[in-house]
Symmetry: C2
């Protein structure tokens, strides 16, 4: 699959609310996942670590709705926008507006990097 095909299939799963399945299907074994923060979560590498981040996230957020836009494609990268209506554990319900920038190699996502709306 080329980048456009990966971008479309990945984003289609996200649009169906199947974000974890989208990662499961397209993450490379040594995928790198970056967050816009300092500390342990800033850069994770490998499917196990990245799956662990997802499991932590779902355990600590109640997701009411996710609006997904994209993909936007250029070369071997694509961008997806996520607008999430969530309640983080112990906090108030809020909207998280973020984009993911994904890099594709051999039909798999080798890097994902999340950017947050200011």
């Amino acid at each position: 699959m080329d980048t456009k095909a990966v971008a479309k299939a990945f984003t289609d799963l996200c649009k169906k609310g199947e974000l974890a399945q989208a990662g499961d299907k397209f993450w490379a074994d040594d995928v790198i996942s970056r967050e816009a923060m300092e500390g342990d979560m800033a850069k994770l590498q490998g499917r196990k670590a990245v799956e662990g981040k997802g499991q932590w996230w779902y355990a600590n957020h109640t997701v009411h709705d996710v609006k997904v836009e994209g993909p936007y494609v250029s070369g071997n990268q694509f961008v997806v926008r996520f607008k999430m209506d969530v309640t983080p554990k112990g906090k108030t319900r809020q909207t998280m507006d973020e984009v993911g920038v994904y890099t594709v190699k051999n039909g798999k996502i080798v890097e994902e990097s999340f950017f947050y709306g200011e």
Copy 2:
């Protein structure tokens, strides 16, 4: 200015419709500008070349409206989404949905890369 400050000031100008001025203020002298296409426009380097692309674009598109969202920030990069209601010369009015990924160094944009909605 750090990346967050550049991202905010640049995006604020874009939101006012001052896209050319935003570039004028923040492009580094040797800025690289990438388009998601093959050929001469795929990669331009230097303010003159990038300004020329902008002039060509404005000469060949009638812009009815631009909706700007962002910025989304991570490290030394930020993302801006542009949804443009335009009529390209000799074509029919259409919506262009794209995102720009910008890389900042020393308070200037050293690279911009445009991704198009599929």
